[in-house]
Amino acid sequence: MKKILSGFFAVSLGCLSLPVFAAGDAVELPEQEWSFDGVFGTYDKASMQRGYQVYKNVCANCHSMDLVSFRNLVDLGYNEDEIKAFAAEYTVEDGPNDEGEMFERAALPSDRFVAPYPNEKAAAAVNNGKAPPDLSLMAKARVGGPDYIYALLTGYEDAPADVEVGNLTYNKYFPGHLISMSAPLFGDDVEYGDGTEATVEQMATDVSHFLMWAAEPKLEARKQTGVKVMIFLIIFTLIMYAAKRKAFAKVH
């Protein structure tokens, strides 16, 4: 019986390891340490604020982030006035007003992040024919998630002699290596308010952290709920086990 049970257990575990799909031309990604990893993982607000600064000044020139609103920035530790000020840096079209006219106004915390281009065609037209993808879910939409983003941002290097790059750029970690996005970070692209040195690695770490939050804003609530649920379930299961033992003790 024990053998059979452990066999079935091995089978179910085996099934679970199956989704490690054929990655084909994937490259081994160096693993980073993130504060949001682990059982009690949480986001690092300082890192996210720096990451938002990088996103705002570098990424957002070409990439949209349609699923995130300015009001969500409260998760990064900003207060309401700061968020209003961030939003007010952008203008959005609203309307129609009572005269039936569309009009422009400063963005509000309730507005989504403002995209750099009016539509995908416009984005593609000025970016080498390939529209930069929306970044809202980037940290969940690629194998490796934040590790992949970090690797990609730091993976630009000279192409090997036998690779014809054309109007693309060589990147060690991009599947297929030839990416439309030229290297976005060079060092000191932003000046961090908290005095952290803005190296390429530091900025890549911070913006990956920020993008992970953008993709999975409920991660902290999820892990905290998980700990409580586990405590409940362990107690529940132990009681049920004791009750089961007691019931079956008299069975012969």
């Binding site: 049970l5 089978v11 099934c15 679970l16 939409a141 709920t225 649920v229 362990i234 529940f236 079956f248």
Partner: protein, 403 residues
Amino acid sequence: MSFKSNNKVVQWVEDRLPIISVMHHSIYEYPMPKNLNYLWNFGSLAGFALVTMIVTGIILAMQYTAHVDLAFNSVERIMRDVNNGWLIRYIHMNMASFFFIAVYIHMFRGLYYGSYKAPRELLWQLGVVIFLLMMATAFMGYVLPWGQMSFWGATVITNLFSAIPIVGENIVTWLWGGFSVDNPTLNRFFALHYLLPFIIVAVVMLHLIALHTVSSNNPLGIDMKGPQDSLPMQPYYTIKDLFGVGVFLLAFSVFLFWAPNYMGHPDNYIPANPLSTPAHIVPEWYFLPFYAILRAIPDKLGGVLAMFGAIAVLFILPWLDRSPIRSCKFRPVARIFFWVFLLNGLALGYLGGQPAEGWYVIASRVATAYYFFHFLVMMPVILPMIERPRELPSSIHEAVMKS
């Protein structure tokens, strides 16, 4: 049904509708073999998973929008703005996998202990019907978030029907409600994804009626001969099932709270784009063995037939296995080939997740051939020739006392 109540209201209802005595009979005093092991927990766990899926699914349907332009963002709205929406959606996503885990273990338990043999043939076949309905439901559910894998999975699977001679193309157009996977497809998949679980509930009811008519099999595979062989369901197996639910939920919670996307595919967080095909289109893990069989056959129609044949063969399994002994405990040779079959199934699952190239193709063909060999040759022809079953104990009670 010697049910009498002192409560006048209960007795009044009982005299007009014997619902209380039926419940009392079938979930209270219902006799079950006293030697069931923990593998017999997975039936109730599958039922638990089904109820969880229906409850979370109905809640999700209140927030979801079945339209090609809105579906993806409506799911993200659930994840971001709906109170505890992330929790409900992740439960629904991960419980789908755990439902299949429970059902696969339940099925392999049936295979090992011969739970499909007389008089349990219809019980087994109803189980296969549930399995088929589950697969259809899971497939259509995966399409609803309208990510890249949703769209391309739907395209690949619906295109299978084009392999049917003459009318194939027409059938595919009819399934799609147009000339490609598009809004009508998404809408009908949503309607059917909401409908099928309730049909599953109905078939589960039939499954349970059949079960209660023939009663549970047990690890010895011999019939209960009297009260000394059995225990009433309450309290023994209700409490054991609840303990099982606790362990099941513990394992489930590890995925739900710490790796909710582990069993999914990252590409499904990219909105569906009919103009851009993902590098590898892979179904959810629970379909991979059948996907491997599909791709193993070099002919499209042949592949489709083999894939459906792999399930159809389960329908006739009760008549393919000719041994009068149910439990592999007393079948020294069948027991070995059960494990070979199980490993072969796992191999098929692994191969289904790999690209169809190189040695993967050859291995898939060998594993596919073995899958059918096991059911069509090993069970009905070879095993009866070479196997000498061990002697059965005379009763469950006696066997339990001896151990």
